[in-house]
């Protein structure tokens, strides 16, 4: 039976090893793989390196590096763990792997660049562990979420599940605009509120629920209706994504125009009875709301949920789809709903999709815009069809 020393010598004989100077020359071409433990990584690493603790290497590497021809430089602190890691990678089919002899210690001694990664605390690591296991999210993605800012229009049916899931996911700052107070008739679907919060401002109720769910999240409340007068002030607080769960057309068109002019993506959701619509409007990358619906319908064709009702679970489904789209936008992963309008029918349990194209003659995002500043949206949505 071999001793550790003998085993290490044997493994080192079977892999490629390079010194710190050689490794430095490969910083442009190769992916550096840091197989040290979290506490070692926290104190500094090779810039751009991907961190996979040695104990998780075999289970996670194929998700992180699907290309087995990718040039890899593996390092630990002194070159021993990385030697075993390199051997294991070779057995998994990675064909271009080198272990850094002397490890990170030697790299640092040579005065080569290092960076101190921003890291998750142990409690964050536990809280977001299911995200950290997904290669598309991982620690870098979770950091991105924690530094992200999402503005929700409305803390009602759609805003409730959307804000809860975004908060649970660790979106670091959530803004909520809503002027209403919690009412009995909200509680059949607006799951962020509760019976004991009846009569409280919805933004405060939502803030309390989110802070109880996840103390990592800062909630910024706006107890007001979104208007042409306050929209720029609110957007000036700095947001990455808007989740639109408004309950009226004037606000929908206002949100659209503001998002185009401020270059902000909007995750749109709307619901009525058993049916919901979801899409994403990303300025410069597809249509805007006005391309989809150039003219608001007359009031008799656009009853609100208060007039026509809504199945309680429907906003849960549509608002969760909105949260999903928002998270993908923040993480820069997957295929978003830009250019596609998803139609969900809860009664038939069907999902349909229609194509939405940018309209070159759109008055706001088209080639020759005719609307270039905020208008009276209530008047615009009342339209010429309304007569006394």
């Amino acid at each position: 039976m071999a001793t550790y020393r003998e085993l290490l010598a044997q493994v080192k004989g079977e892999i490629d090893e390079i010194g710190a100077a050689d490794a430095r020359e490969r910083t442009e071409s190769a992916l550096f793989l840091d197989v040290r433990e979290h506490d070692e990584w926290d104190e500094g690493a090779v810039p751009g390196a991907v961190h996979v603790p040695r104990g998780q290497l075999e289970s996670r590497i194929e998700g992180l590096v699907p290309d087995k021809d990718r040039e890899l430089v593996v390092y630990c602190s002194g070159g021993s763990r990385s030697a075993f890691a390199a051997k294991s990678l070779g057995e998994l089919g990675y064909r271009n792997v080198a272990s850094l002899t002397g490890g990170f210690t030697d790299w640092k001694r040579n005065g080569y660049p290092i960076e101190t990664p921003t890291t998750l605390t142990p409690s964050q690591r536990a809280r977001y562990s299911r995200h950290l296991l997904i290669p598309e999210v991982g620690e870098a993605g979770q950091q991105k979420l924690l530094s992200s800012r999402v503005l929700l229009i409305g803390a009602g049916g759609l805003g409730s599940p959307a804000s809860l899931y975004l908060a649970a996911a660790g979106v670091g700052t959530i803004g909520i605009i809503d002027a209403d107070v919690v009412d009995d008739s909200n509680l059949q679907r607006q799951i962020i509120h509760s019976t004991k919060r009846l009569g409280e401002p919805k933004v405060q109720s939502a803030k309390d629920t989110i802070e109880a769910l996840n103390p990592d999240v800062q909630v910024k409340t706006y107890e007001e209706r979104l208007t042409s007068e306050n929209v720029e002030r609110i957007l000036a607080d700095g947001w990455d994504v808007i989740v639109d769960g408004a309950d009226n057309f004037p606000t929908r068109y206002l949100v659209n125009d503001a998002s185009v002019w401020n270059d902000l993506p909007v995750v749109h959701g709307s619901i009525y009875r058993f049916e919901g619509q979801v899409t994403v409007f990303k300025p410069g990358h597809g249509p805007c709301y006005r391309c989809l619906f150039p003219t608001p319908p007359p009031p008799e064709l656009a009853p609100s949920c208060a007039e026509g009702g809504v199945l309680g679970v429907l906003p849960g489904i549509i608002g969760s789809l909105q949260a999903n789209e928002a998270l993908k936008l923040l993480l820069g992963i997957g295929d978003g709903l830009q250019g596609r309008l998803l139609l969900f029918d809860a009664l038939a349990t069907t999902v349909d999709e229609v194509i939405v194209k940018r309209d070159a003659s759109c008055p706001v995002c088209g080639e020759s815009p005719t609307i270039t500043e905020y208008i009276d949206y209530v008047e615009f949505c009342a339209g010429p069809r309304v007569t006394s």
């Binding site: 229009i153 409305g154 009602g156 049916g157 759609l158 805003g159 639109d244 769960g245 408004a246 309950d247 009226n248 057309f249 929908r252 959701g269 709307s270 619901i271 009525y272 009875r273 058993f274 049916e275 619509q277 989809l292 619906f293 150039p294 003219t295 608001p296 319908p297 007359p298 064709l301 656009a302 009853p303 609100s304 949920c305 208060a306 026509g308 809504v310 906003p315 139609l343 029918d345 009664l347 038939a348 349909d352 999709e353 229609v354 194509i355 939405v356 194209k357 309209d359």
Partner: protein
């Protein structure tokens, strides 16, 4: 026959049906036949003989405004009528 999906806001006009059928070779003919079968729909779909601007019509998943409008040949593709919904409630 073209199958036409009716949005919830227009279902009262078609006896509560989620989907109905109508004849015609073009989108215009199908919608006119639809309005003949369900006269209450006419004022909701047409303004001065043209499709109301607040109603979107999709044929095979494509907005007819990006095809040939009301002159688009239906070709047996399913049709969806879709007005905007505001509700986030």
């Amino acid at each position: 026959m073209t199958a036409i999906r009716i949005p919830p806001t227009l279902r009262n006009e078609v006896g509560g049906e989620r989907q109905v059928e109508a004849h015609g070779g073009s989108v215009r003919e199908v919608l006119e036949d639809l309005a003949r079968r369900y006269p209450a729909l006419e004022s909701q779909l047409f303004e001065d003989g043209e499709l109301a601007t607040f109603v979107n019509v999709y044929l095979g998943g494509e907005d007819i405004r990006t095809l040939d409008g009301l002159d688009t040949t239906v070709d047996g593709l399913p049709m969806i009528l879709l007005p905007a919904m505001a509700g986030g409630c």
